[in-house]
């Protein structure tokens, strides 16, 4: 009897998720045909067909290991535990609190942060050294958590793989998961040398300030970091990659200002939080 109930449940769950993905899209995907609808390649449900959460995590581990091959972790356990604590608290305020969240500070003088799919978040020593409060750290991590929960990098990977290999080829490759994931990841950690859609960055900023506020931090801490980054001379090589792959901080601040208005003002005088771990 229990088994039967279980089966019925599975059936309804399957039905629910099939409805969530537009049935027409599904048919189209399965037949490998691309109709005139290709003008909407950003529909996340369409883009994500074939990439499960489990795949996301695998991709994140692969990309994360590759990034660590270029820049290893700062060998300081107290620092790494601290960043994981703040990051996990922030991620707990999102709608994907149970991803295997990992946070790491990597050895690079660049000012940058990276979000690998599945919950692997990195920031550079160069960026960490610019931070002056735990709220600022939380804000930076919250922006990256935003990318992860919205699967922004998966979407870029899919687009990239679709362009280089052809959509129908990719669909066949869905059968062979390993090959498919290899295609999505591409070379090394090249995904971090590519830009996301500008709107994905603005979205991650909006998520960043909200998750900060939900976690009990001052939501204006992320904009404060953006202001600091915006004040760095664009000719400085430490921001070359960041400025190449992101809209200029000033544009991001303007968008944030429009989106925030006074709606987060009630949370701006947040007093909670620990002391930022001092890295020498």
């Amino acid at each position: 009897m229990k088994q039967l109930i279980g089966m019925i449940l599975v059936f309804f769950l399957a039905l629910g998720s099939a409805q969530a993905i537009k049935l027409d899209d599904l048919k189209e995907k399965l037949s490998g045909k691309t109709s005139g609808d290709s003008s909407q390649p950003t529909d996340p449900k369409r883009m994500l067909l074939g990439v499960s959460e489990e795949d996301e995590i695998r991709i994140g581990q692969e990309v994360g290991a590759n990034l660590l091959g270029a820049s290893p972790l700062v060998p300081n356990e107290a620092l790494q535990r601290y960043v994981n604590t703040v990051g996990r608290w922030v991620a707990s305020q999102s709608e994907r609190p149970n991803l295997p969240w990992h946070f790491g500070v990597i050895e690079s003088s660049d000012v940058n942060a990276f979000a690998a799919p599945g919950g692997y978040v990195f920031l550079t020593r160069g960026l960490y050294m610019k931070l002056t409060s735990e709220g600022e750290l939380a804000g930076v991590l919250a922006h990256e958590v935003g990318h992860v929960i919205k699967r922004h990098h998966i979407e870029v990977m899919r687009k990239g793989a679709a362009i280089s290999l052809g959509e129908s080829y990719l669909q066949k490759k869905v059968q062979d998961k390993n090959e498919y994931i290899k295609n999505l990841v591409g070379n090394g950690a090249e995904i971090f040398a590519r830009s996301l859609d500008k709107n994905a960055e603005f979205e991650a900023d909006r998520i960043g300030v909200v998750l900060s506020a939900r976690a009990g931090y001052d939501p204006y801490s992320l904009p404060a970091v953006l202001q600091k980054i915006g004040a760095i001379n664009p000719g400085d090589t430490s921001v070359a990659l960041l400025f190449k792959t992101h809209p200029h901080p000033e544009e991001r601040l303007l968008k944030l200002s429009d989106a925030m208005g006074e709606s987060l003002a009630p949370y701006e005088n947040a007093k909670g939080g620990g002391k930022l771990y001092k890295l020498k």
Binding site: A65, R214, E262
Partner: protein, 168 residues
């Protein structure tokens, strides 16, 4: 003797100049914004600063920045000012001072003291996996429960806040 005193004095002066440059940063308003007596929306308005007013940035508090502008001192909405606007004329700005302090000269990517480098596009593309480092990350991971305990200890209160829609 005289020479030594002179040098000491000069060093002191240079130090003071650097300190002053580091504590106040130049900036400007990016839109029309009221200069408030206190960091609150309903505080008294001291002046209305038009866009592109030069300001001296003193400190930040929540969503407010304390500035000196037009001979007055007060608070403006933080998102209505930008810091470190590059002024023509090559004045030493606060970020140059910060760059000196971190050993970065601006042109090179190498931090003199530690030998840590930046990340180039090429390096990212050719990066080979380092599974050992990834395993270390597992070791450093923190459970949601432990993160919650940290938040409780540090008076971080969970608040219910809706996501912000994209501005039209």
């Amino acid at each position: 003797m005289h020479f030594k005193t002179w040098i000491t004095g000069l060093t002191l002066l240079a130090g003071l100049a650097l300190a002053a440059a580091a504590s106040a940063e130049s900036g400007s308003t990016i839109k029309d914004t009221p200069l408030k007596d206190k960091p609150f929306v309903d505080a008294r308005t001291l002046a209305n600063l038009p866009a592109r007013t030069s300001v001296e940035i003193m400190e930040r508090k929540g969503g407010w920045t304390r500035v000196k502008a037009a001979g007055k001192q007060g608070w403006v909405r933080m998102l209505n000012v930008r810091a470190g606007q590059a002024q023509a004329g090559g004045k030493t700005s606060a970020q140059d001072v910060a760059a000196l302090a971190t050993g970065r000269s601006g042109s090179g990517n190498i931090v003199a003291t530690s030998g840590i480098r930046g990340l180039s596009e090429e390096e990212l593309k050719s990066a080979k996996g380092n599974p050992d480092e990834l395993k270390k990350m597992d070791k450093f991971a923190v459970t949601a429960k432990d993160a919650g305990a940290y938040a409780l200890k540090n008076k971080l209160q969970r608040r219910s806040v809706s996501y912000l829609p994209a501005p039209q």
